[in-house]
């Protein structure tokens, strides 16, 4: 095991988008059981430092792989795709975004806003799942399409964050 392994290799997993999340979390725990600094509380300084570095790396790998969006971006990075270059999004997707944004804004003054927000969030999640399937289907064939799917995921993530913000506002935090 070395620090140059990619995140999938660290967990002994194949580089695929469709991941066995239970398996990931099981392997994550097994690795941390060996590597976590608590195991080295009475060890030498060098072992402590190594354990902290390894444990940090395993944490970073786990957080990246368990989130579909972060995992997708990471896979494109591994393939050397330039993810800072923004693809042109299909007009239909942009229209849908505008509609969803408007709908979200209208919930702010709606007396039943909180309940409707729950339904809204389910819809956002559905779109997200669709994008994940789309990414999975094209990631090995078409970099540009895969990048578009990731970019759309980022839009949906921001929308979800706005929905969370609104929920906090409605709950009067």
């Amino acid at each position: 095991m070395d620090f140059n392994q990619n995140y999938f290799e660290i967990f002994g997993l194949p580089v695929t988008f469709k991941l066995d999340l239970d398996g990931l979390s099981r392997r994550y725990r097994e690795l941390q059981k060996e590597l976590h600094p608590d195991n080295y509380a009475s060890s030498t300084e060098h072992e402590k430092r190594l354990s902290m570095q390894w444990s940090s790396l395993v944490n970073a790998a786990n957080e990246t792989l368990k989130s579909p969006q972060a995992r997708a971006i990471y896979m494109l990075e591994l393939k050397g795709v330039d993810i800072d270059h923004n693809p042109v999004l299909p007009p239909a997707f942009l229209m849908e975004q505008i509609e969803l944004r408007e709908e979200l804004e209208s919930l702010e003054d709606d007396p039943a806003g909180l309940d409707k927000l729950d339904t809204f969030k389910v819809r956002v999640k559905d779109v997200m799942s669709g994008l994940e399937r789309q990414f999975e289907a094209v990631v090995n064939e078409d970099d540009e399409k895969a990048l578009t799917a990731v970019y759309e995921m980022q839009f949906m993530t921001k929308l979800m964050a706005s929905a969370h913000h609104l929920e906090e506002k409605l709950l009067d935090y």
């Binding site: 095991m1 002994g12 398996g23 099981r26 392997r27 725990r29 097994e30 690795l31 941390q32 059981k33 060996e34 590597l35 976590h36 600094p37 608590d38 195991n39 509380a41 009475s42 060890s43 030498t44 300084e45 060098h46 072992e47 190594l50 354990s51 902290m52 570095q53 390894w54 444990s55 940090s56 944490n59 970073a60 786990n62 957080e63 969370h164 929920e167 906090e168 709950l171 009067d172 935090y173």
Partner: protein, 626 residues
Amino acid sequence: MALLQITEPGQAIDPHLRKRAAGIDLGTTNSLIASVRAGVAETLPDQEGRHMLPSVVRYSEQGVVVGEDARVQAAEDPLNTIVSVKRLMGRGVNDVDTLGNQLPYEFSATEGGVPRIVTRSGEVTPVEVSAQIIRALVGRASETLAGDLDGVVVTVPAYFDDSQRQATKDAAQLAGINVLRLLNEPTAASIAYGLDTGAEGTIAIYDLGGGTFDISLLRLTRGVFEVLATGGDSALGGDDLDRAIAEWILQQCGHSEKLNPSQLRGLMMQARQIKESLTDKDEVDVRVDDKGLHFEGRLTRVQFNELIASLVDKSIKACRRTVRDAGVALNEIDNVVMVGGSTRVPLVIDRVHDYFGTQPLNNIDPDRVVAIGAAVQANILVGNKPDDEMLLLDVLPLSLGLETMGGLAEKVITRNTAIPTSRAQEFTTYKDGQTAMLVHVLQGERELVQDCRSLARFELKGIPPMVAGAAKILVEFRVDADGLLSVSARETSTGVEAFVEVKPSYGLTDEEIMQMLQSSFDHAQEDAEQRSLAEARVEAGRVIEALGNALDEDGEALLGESDIALLRGAIDKLGSLADGSDTRAITEGIEMLGKASEEFASLRMDVAVRKALAGRQVADIDSEYS
């Protein structure tokens, strides 16, 4: 020379070789110390059989008084009796101004920004006051366990930021104890329950202490505790319930003038007694007769519930938010654990029950459960249970970030990220020819710098002049398993580097701590040199033991004979150095041995990883065929 001891593998450690470890719950209102004895974790009482030590320190004419005696005298001598000092830990002078209305003390500000409380024994910092409490607890433990403690786990609210954690660690250091780990209080509570009941699943820990409210969601799987999310309110606690009653009494008295500190203290104490009585009784007689305050009547539980409803609701809102952060549905939460004396209040139990839809657990004393869990963890970390499988995974309670242009805070590590962790972010210069860059480290969730807590500022100097945007400055954040941060910055094209251990603005520098140690009357007789020699010897012993054990376990498998002989030789050399009295030689010897064993340490880590993966592969094969 000692005779060789032969024990069966897995047999219990000889009681004489057992290390003394303890868990400390440093609370706002009360503090406790617990230890594992004969396999059972229990809180340790003082000579009069009292387990809870009131977190009250009085600077009296005869010296420092800690605990019950100080608490009893609090009303007579409020300015010299420090209560709820935990609320001040890691806080700056500005924070104290906000809290100041509620506190009867006189403060004197210092350049460092650390608030100092003016007492008759001079000015004291919150860290020093906390160290007194820790000393009192440790003294109790040393007596009960008949010897000095080898290591201690100290608990902190999950919501504590970096400066508050650092201040807590400073206090323990000042009290002269070896801190094995800072542990989040709710996590400690779950350890106590996890081992007692063998629970698995998702657990919510509802902790309404004296001065802080914490809600944590943990997942327990096969002996692994994972913190899914933490939240809470660092300014909500049982004290606030008392205050609600005190305010009600004042209203009944028709009193509107400012109370003097001793009146206020007396009233708060009475309010607390009323709160406690209303746990079992439906109503309580209230009588006040004190200079200008006159009232006789009664408070019913129904009225009390009305007084505190908004406070309890505040805690439930924080629960809602944390459940959402954790990404779990309410019906996935199997258990709710109650921590803190105020969770005995019937309205609190009802509201928690209603929200989570499950009967909360409180069969372990909610005042002691945190200390008990900390003792269990301390016992493991000190090495008394080498075969134990428990692993504690923790998360960062508050996001860490940097100031960017326009007074905005850019998050580098978001809250609820598993720790330890490290993350690097690249920044660039904004002016042509810029040769220095200020790195301002922040903690908090808000977007504006002014709304976040400032942890540290440092400057990266010597950037070669380039056009704006050409320099690449890599800022790396590293958070250790205690949640404490260090930051480094590097210009990547030239390698110019700057590094800080984040000593938060409100913490104390190591020199300040050394000074305090020296001036502290408990250690006045001790020579500082003697002390550092003793410390170096202890450290040498620790390193020798650690490496010796490692060689016994893996030496033959991983190293050639000559390498083993080399390391054994180095160990012996350090051993003889430690017998001498040259502190510097010992410290250098420790470093040498560390260097010599680096390669071996790396090999061992590799083996550990391979073992983890191998175990996993066997398990996978099993599940495929079953």
